[in-house]
């Protein structure tokens, strides 16, 4: 049983961090894109913004359990199977990328207009602006966002567990709920709480250290 717990915990952590990583890699550029599109003076860019914005909202409004089911064909193509942690990562990432994009966009929007003007008068190009001002100045905020994202992903892995993803969620349902093992259910919950607290603690600490 202990082995089972360790395996499930590692699976949950694996799913959370891999899909978290993928969402960061795709979500932050998405956030940057949204930031620039929303401020563009060209009407075409503004229309693209509304289009992208709409899709971000669509993906965020589908209940996760439904999204997993809708993504079954895609998961099959990418991973080859719909069972196991790797298959869950597909749905987890697709749910989390728009979320991360939105979080990043919100952080970027908190940047003062003054700094944007400063970048303009210093003659910065877009790349320099992104890497020297936009990301560094928003980083503490983005880290808070990533913390939130990872905690949300933990909950999502538990949902994914209901449809064959493995991890602590699957264990809670298969053993705890279906076989009436309340001890397992509770231990499961305790481990989840523990992981969540850990992520929150280190997330806050990192974010705080970045605020000068």
């Amino acid at each position: 049983m202990i082995d089972e717990f360790i395996r499930a915990t590692l699976e949950t952590i694996y799913m959370t961090f891999v899909s978290g990583g993928i969402s960061i890699i795709f979500g932050i550029p998405l956030g940057i894109l949204l930031f620039f599109l929303s401020r563009s003076k060209k009407s075409l860019n503004r229309r693209i913004y509304y289009f992208v914005d709409f899709f971000v909202n669509v993906f965020r409004s589908i209940p996760f359990i439904i999204l997993i089911i809708l993504l079954i064909p895609l998961t099959k193509i990418i991973i080859g199977t719909i069972i196991g942690p790797n298959s869950a990562i597909v749905a987890l990432s697709i749910a989390a990328i728009p979320f991360m994009g939105r979080l990043a966009e919100n952080s970027f929007n908190n940047l003062s207009q003054g700094l944007i003007d400063t970048a303009t008068v210093l003659g910065m190009n877009k790349r320099q602006f992104v890497f020297k001002i936009l990301i560094p100045e928003s980083l503490a905020d983005i880290i808070s966002g990533i913390t939130l994202l990872l905690i949300n992903l933990i909950t999502f892995t538990a949902i994914a567990g209901a449809v064959g993803a493995g991890g602590l969620g699957a264990m809670a349902i298969n053993y705890g709920y279906q076989r009436f093992r309340w001890d397992i259910l509770w231990l499961d919950v305790i481990i989840l709480i523990f992981i969540t607290q850990l992520i929150q603690y280190y997330g806050n600490k990192l974010s705080k250290s970045l605020r000068k």
């Binding site: 700094l115 003007d117 303009t120 210093l122 910065m124």
Partner: protein, 330 residues
């Protein structure tokens, strides 16, 4: 050097913020742009660096019209004008050193360290280089912002309300720094402000904005002499002269109430004393002040002249030839 011609700025096709603005800034000159809130100071500043695209008119830097440039060329030309914003706009995640170095990083220049250290010494930030902006005082933030503006040797330094958030002592030191830099680097400087004292102490020429129009453009001393009444009414909200008393004293026969304006070195000469002795008239001083505009003194006297049967015409003529301006009041 910088020439603004018939500049107009209209927001949303109806809000006419700047109306036919004309002025110029010469090499090495300190120009002030003064106006009350809502006069269009911020709009002018933003237009000069094309943060706001003017509706019509020209902004010529060394003969090149910035408002007609393509984005790519503008990006290069803009680097010749440095802006020190009102709230400094320092990067919170960069130290003083890194903030000052930012423009050099962008231009991928060499000797960044030497140049930053040298300038930091010049502006008095040597001991603060590894501090983050949040731990700096207002004056130090302003120094950092000025240093960041100076680091890439701009042709024009544009300061937006550089002293309005600072206490009088710090204001003194910042103005001194601005003037030192201006002299040492022969740097054209534009100060946007609502404080008359800043104009008095730092500027050579002044653009007085009123309701989006240039109400006056010219040397500071002329501004104070020609617009005296308006300046007192709009900026100081006080009138120092007790006109009632003045009228009472000068109501009699054989008396004249005159106002004498001095400017420049003659201010400190005993002109009045000499001429009054020569014509043997009596002077009764009822109001007087001397102020210093940047370096030169400027003074006003209001005097009752008792002339009895003396040659008052001759007195007036000779006095007029020796002072900046002579007016007969009442």
């Amino acid at each position: 050097m910088l020439e603004v011609k018939d500049l107009n700025l209209i927001y949303n096709q109806k809000l006419h913020v700047l109306k036919n603005i004309n002025f110029e800034v010469k090499k090495g000159e300190v120009a002030g742009i003064i106006g009350l809130s809502g006069a269009g100071k911020t709009s002018i500043l933003r237009s000069l660096v094309l943060l706001e695209k003017p509706t019509s008119g020209e902004i010529k830097l060394n003969g090149k019209d910035l408002s007609k440039l393509k984005e790519r060329d503008l990006m290069i030309e803009r680097k010749k004008i440095s802006v020190v914003f009102q709230n400094y706009n320092l990067l919170s995640t960069r130290t003083v050193y890194e903030n000052i170095a930012l423009p050099l990083e962008i231009n991928k220049e060499k000797n960044i360290k030497d140049r930053v250290l040298k300038l930091a010494e010049e502006v008095g930030l040597k001991d603060r280089l590894d501090h983050y902006p949040s731990s700096l005082s207002g004056g130090e933030k302003q120094r950092t912002a000025i240093a960041r503006g100076m680091i890439n040797n701009p042709e024009i330094l544009l300061l937006d309300e550089p002293t309005s958030a600072l206490d009088p002592n710090t204001t003194d030191r910042i103005l001194k720094l601005v003037l030192d830099l201006n002299k040492k680097h022969d740097l054209s400087t534009i100060i946007v402000t609502h404080e008359m004292d800043v104009i008095k102490r730092a500027c050579d020429r002044v653009v007085y904005l009123k309701n989006g129009e240039v109400n006056f453009f010219g040397p500071v001393y002329k501004f104070f002499i020609e617009k005296e009444k308006e300046i007192y009414e709009e900026f100081y909200k006080e009138i120092n002269i007790d006109w009632k008393a003045a009228r009472k004293k000068s109501g009699k026969e054989n008396q004249k109430l005159i106002k004498v304006t001095f400017y420049g070195d003659s201010t400190h000469e005993p002109i009045l004393d000499e001429i009054s002795k020569k014509y043997d008239v009596k002077l009764n001083y009822i109001y007087g002040k001397i102020e210093h505009l940047k370096l030169k003194p400027y003074g006003t006297l209001i005097i009752v002249v008792e002339y009895e049967d003396r040659d008052i015409e001759g007195f007036m003529k000779e006095l007029e030839s020796k002072v900046y301006k002579l007016e007969e009041l009442l």
